[in-house]
Amino acid sequence: MSFAVTAAQLSKSYRYSRRGRGWRAAFSSEQVTIEAVAGVDFQIAPGERVAIIGPNGAGKSTTLKMLSGILQPSSGAATVLGLVPWRQRKALAYRIGVVFGQRSQLWGELPARDSFDLLRHVYDQDARVFARRLGEMSERFALGELLDQPVHRMSLGQRMRCEITASLLHGPELLFLDEPTIGLDVTAKAAIRDFIREHARDHGLTVLLTSHDTRDIELVCDRVIVVNQGRIVVDQPTDQLRRRFLGRKIITFQSAGAAVSLDLPGVTRRAGAAHATVLEVDTRVVRVEQVIAAAMADGGIEDVTIEDPPMEEVIHDIYAAAR
């Protein structure tokens, strides 16, 4: 079987000079080596949707940079779509799409359509094929009038729809997504996730995603690679991971009076601020709506927020289980 992505003992270490204190330090420094990625091995099949997750500094961004060709590894090997990324970056660029949630690839002053037109030339695309793809995506993503609106006047959700469109217009075989839903509201997140999942399924697109939002991982990816301290801790299907580690929700109730008092199985109280009750809910035992209904029946609730546990906690649980 030929894989879309392979990594074999892929490693990256950085060296920097650390100066000590005092006047002697002006004349001497110590060379420090940091191992950002320490010999990771994995393969990704064509059409697979894989999340690489881990706490900050775990090595996921470094891994993605090496796989996309913008960072040379210290040792090891990797191929992406049969190419060595850091040696054949330009050839690879025609075949991959990239979305960085916190960086725009569109030109702010101009309508998105103008940015798309420039990208058509950048990727040497036939005008008719390009127009057909834009038409399809425009319909699927309800871009419509957005296409002729200056990008800087768009909401974050609208801009992200255009960013994803821009990354797919040249028909890539593999899509790198780095925090694609960061900062978006619930509706916009759902639209982005649905689109990526369906587009990938319909076009056989391989997806490599990093995110701190566990819903991105659950709803888009069918496999999760967890990295920590430069090493792969867990590599398993999302279903399996969900059953074991993604079954928790954090519900915060704001109340004018006393703290909410609940005695339900699968619900544990966490430390909260004044007038705020923070509950950790095991959704395998009790449903979120049951918890909210019970709290509302108690009265005095002014506001409710539902969140995923921080990724650091999920990783911690996974890491603890792996040991």
């Binding site: 990256k12 950085y14 950002a36 470094t62 940079k65 996309s68 060709g69 913008i70 960072l71 040379q72 850091w86 970056r89 330009k90 050839a91 660029a93 025609y94 991959i96 990239v98 960085f100 960086r103 690839q105 030109w107 002053e109 101009l110 103008d114 940015s115 037109d117 420039l118 058509r120 030339h121 950048v122 990727y123 040497d124 200056p150 790198f176």
Partner: protein, 274 residues
């Protein structure tokens, strides 16, 4: 790679650069209030400088230094026209390199350096067009003598070439971001040299002979002086010499930009972040 493939690739690279140039042009026009403000500023500067040079002419100082009295105002108009059209490309390089935004550009198949220079040049050309119209209006309102038609024709070639020299000089300052946190000090040095050796406010021929020769051979004169000189005292020979210097400096600065870019890129690919 065969020569046919190489030619096809070069053509596609140039097409993408032309598209970026058009994008830069459109983007600058889209920000028309800023452009209008720049045109007003051009008018203000020319009001002050023309008053200064009229006084110089009235006191016959210009005659003593062998410059045509009304010509110096036209010269300064041309050099200011180019200076005010110059886009701050160094800031774009600094921002992309220092913020990590460069990564997304490196994941595209066309060269970032060429695309960014084309984008900047496109913006500069939009300004040249808007400020050019302003200059014609100012000249018509001032009632001054128009420059010879051949001088204007030469200016239409030397002006954009001078702009390109300036874009490349600023690109060198911007590429310093691979090694320096801020590029402003480099830009300031280049800008002051443009003013001094480029002859922003007066032709470099006013300098002592040896210094004038050095200035005329510098990239800063290729940026400003040669275009200004042709509108003041046009001649085919002067035009050809000026265009020759400009083209030579465009090639040299292009090579310098490419060299600096390759060094910086190698550092980025090795170290991951700047």
């Amino acid at each position: 790679m065969t020569s046919t493939l190489r030619r096809a690739e070069a053509r596609s690279t140039l097409r993408a650069a032309a598209s970026a140039l058009r994008m830069g042009f459109d983007q600058t026009l889209a920000g028309w209030p800023v452009l209008a403000g720049r045109c007003l500023f051009f008018g203000l500067i020319m009001t002050v400088l023309s008053a200064l040079w009229d006084k110089v002419a009235a006191e016959q100082v210009a005659g003593a230094i062998a410059l045509p009295p009304g010509g110096v105002v036209l010269y300064v108009g041309a050099t200011e026209w180019i200076t005010l059209s110059l886009p701050a490309v160094y800031l774009r390089f600094e921002d992309d390199i220092r913020s990590g935004g460069l990564e997304i550009h490196l994941l595209r198949p066309k060269p970032y350096l060429l695309q960014t220079l084309a984008l900047g040049l496109g913006g500069g050309l939009a300004r040249l067009a808007a400020l050019g119209v302003t200059a014609i209006l100012l000249l018509a309102l001032s009632g001054r003598a128009w420059p010879p038609l051949e001088g204007l024709a030469f200016l239409l070639v030397l002006g954009p070439l001078g702009l390109l020299v300036g874009v490349m000089l600023y690109a060198l300052a911007g590429l310093a971001a691979f090694w320096a946190r801020r590029t402003l000090p480099f830009q300031l040095i280049i800008q002051k040299l443009m003013f001094l050796l480029g002859g922003l406010f007066a032709p470099v021929t006013l300098y002592p002979a040896a210094l004038a020769e050095v200035a005329r051979a510098s990239p800063f004169a290729a940026h400003l002086y040669w275009a200004g000189a042709q509108v003041m005292a046009p001649s085919l020979m002067g035009f050809l010499v000026g265009a020759g210097w400009q083209l030579a400096w465009i090639l040299l600065l292009g090579a310098a930009c490419l060299g600096l870019w390759r060094l910086g890129l190698a550092k980025l690919l090795r170290e991951g972040t700047i």
